[in-house]
């Protein structure tokens, strides 16, 4: 039982990273019905920006908490600019063409980011600096262990979720997002600047992916230009699992997938881990294509 709970805690850490990436997938899909396959690579870029800013800042002698905070902010800001640029250059010109054209472009952008990464940074994995010294905490006697990194992941994720909920529910931009995802044409005619709203969506999604990238780097201590592929696909599965287009769905989907994966590994089937994630995708597509929180939407003609 303790072992199970221990794995559950580990699963939540992995799941939080999936959830943060999945949010970007789901938000972009919600607003322009595009599966942005380059999203996993924005996670990678975010991780690298985090790596270099963390190195620079700790060399400058800043205290660890400040290094973490500033690295997160720098990485999130720069990645959101990257997200906006990608949307403007690659997706916006295709907004009126078929969905499949935009989808293939997204795959192209994904390869572009990956191999420009290989070109500039080299294919070898790089070590992520230890920003904070890991501390172990024992819960319930000494049966369950939690390290400071897992606590940091959970706090970061929760804070970002609260901010996101606030933006979407209560701000003018968030309301415009909901309106655009509902009926782009009507929103436009109600005076909403649709292009700017879409940019904001890409910015927020990319910032969340970048945050996940920094956290990921700190947890696994290793980043490389192709690191975004697997987490990107897993986060996509998580988004579909939760119901693509639904923000709570992405959160629950991510956590669920992370937990399932970790439990499977802990039972000794760690090489089956990825397979199980995609089996989950297949099962969802067969039995509940709209996902856990998805609505059955009729296609608009």
């Amino acid at each position: 039982m303790e072992y199970f709970i221990q794995q559950l805690i580990n699963g939540i850490s992995v799941g939080s990273i999936y959830a943060l990436i999945a949010l970007g997938y789901t938000m972009v899909y919600g607003i322009i019905k595009l599966i942005n396959f380059a999203h996993g690579d924005i996670f990678m870029v975010g991780s690298f920006i985090g790596l270099y800013s963390a190195k620079f800042l700790s060399n400058a002698g800043l205290p660890p908490v400040l290094v973490l905070l500033l690295s997160l902010i720098i990485s999130m800001t720069m990645s959101s600019l990257l997200g906006i640029t990608i949307e403007r250059l690659a997706y916006k010109p295709l907004r009126k063409s078929t969905r499949i054209a935009a989808l293939i472009t997204a795959i192209g952008v994904s390869f572009l980011l990956e191999y420009v990464g290989v070109l500039i940074l080299g294919p070898q994995a790089k070590g992520f600096p230890d920003i904070m010294v890991k501390k172990q905490y024992q819960l319930f006697g000494s049966s369950i262990q939690v390290d400071s990194n897992q606590v940091m992941i959970l706090i970061t994720t929760i804070v970002l979720m609260i901010i996101l909920q606030y933006i979407v529910r209560y701000t003018k931009t968030g309301k415009a997002m909901r309106a655009v995802s509902f009926d782009m044409e009507a929103a436009r005619l109600m005076g909403i600047n649709v292009d700017r709203t879409i940019s904001a969506t890409f910015a927020i999604g990319s910032a969340l992916a970048a945050a996940a990238g920094v956290i990921f780097g700190m947890t696994y201590n290793s980043v490389d230009p192709l690191m975004g592929v697997m987490p990107g696909l897993k986060a996509f599965v998580a988004a579909v699992l939760g119901g693509i287009g639904s923000i709570p769905g992405a959160l629950v989907g991510g956590l669920l997938l992370g937990t399932v994966e970790t439990e499977i590994s802990s039972l000794g089937y760690s090489s089956w881990r990825d397979g199980v994630a995609f089996a989950v995708l297949i099962l969802i597509l067969i039995f509940k294509p709209s996902g856990l929180f998805g609505k059955n939407v009729r296609e608009k003609v």
Binding site: K172, K175, E185, A186, M190, G191, I192
Partner: protein, 259 residues
């Protein structure tokens, strides 16, 4: 033409074709400030196409559209909305998953002064701005007798109320020109009469100029100052309701079909 009164909307020879189909050809019309103008014509005459040109859904193929002496042909829809032209839709297009109040607030929001930044930091400006907008939105809902249902999801309103909410939402943008696309479609005669009275009333109250598409000719006759008649993309007549009623071309194109 229109020498004495100020022209709000001036359309000069606007055409629009889709591939080989000419949906509108060489349409010229003008609307003076404060007028209530009817736009009628049989199905497929190009009435909604004209609305789409006026609101920027697509640009005119040729011709000019002047709103307040400023060319708006081909301008982006949200810009035209900010310039003072708001519309409703023939098939209702509310944000049905949001509340009645939110639907109206969204239109107000585009004119709000507080930014995302001040909202994020929860500055006093944010709360003041939000409060002001909520108040204004409620005022408009009161006019349309929808204030009691402000927290209701828009999709749950009755059909007639959804139509009224669309007009309320359009009004929230603070337009000078209000374009109503078959606002009474699907309403019963009583509801229609009430709505027409309401439209006449808001025109006074908000100092509006209104262009109204209506299928039912008898209905526009009562309220409109002037009427334009479209048939197969061509403007075939304009004049006062009495003139239109007696115009042989109109009778042939329009009434002739129905009688």
């Amino acid at each position: 033409m229109a020498a004495s009164t100020a022209v709000l909307l001036d359309v000069k020879g606007a055409s629009r074709s889709f591939g080989g189909l000419k949906a509108l050809s060489e349409v010229s019309l003008h609307i003076n400030k404060g007028e209530l103008i009817g736009l009628i014509g049989p199905n497929g005459a190009g009435k909604t196409t004209l609305f789409n040109l006026l609101t920027g859904v697509y640009p005119p193929s040729t011709g000019k559209i002047l709103l307040n002496n400023e060319s708006v042909g081909g301008m982006k829809p949200f810009k035209i909305n900010h310039k003072g032209a708001a519309r409703t839709f023939q098939n209702i297009r509310l944000f049905t998953a949001m509340t009645v109040l939110e639907n109206v607030k969204i239109a107000f929001h585009q004119h709000a002064r507080h930014s995302l930044f001040s909202s994020m930091l929860r500055l006093p400006k944010h709360f003041k701005g939000e409060e002001e907008i909520t108040q204004k939105a409620m005022d408009i809902l009161k006019i349309f007798s929808l204030a009691d249902q402000a927290q209701e999801t828009a999709g749950n309103l009755s059909y007639g109320n959804q139509r009224r909410l669309e007009i309320a939402r359009a009004l929230a943008a603070g337009p000078k020109l209000l374009l109503l696309d078959e606002p009474a479609a699907g309403m019963n005669p009583n509801e229609t009469r009430d709505l027409m009275n309401l439209i006449a009333w808001i025109r006074e109250e908000f100092d509006l100029t209104i262009l109204l598409i209506e299928h039912d000719m008898s209905l526009v006759m009562g309220v409109c100052n002037r009427i334009y008649v479209l048939d197969r993309g061509v403007l075939i007549a304009d004049g006062t309701p009495v003139e239109i009623r007696n115009n042989p071309k109109v009778i042939e194109a329009y009434l002739g079909q129905e009688a």
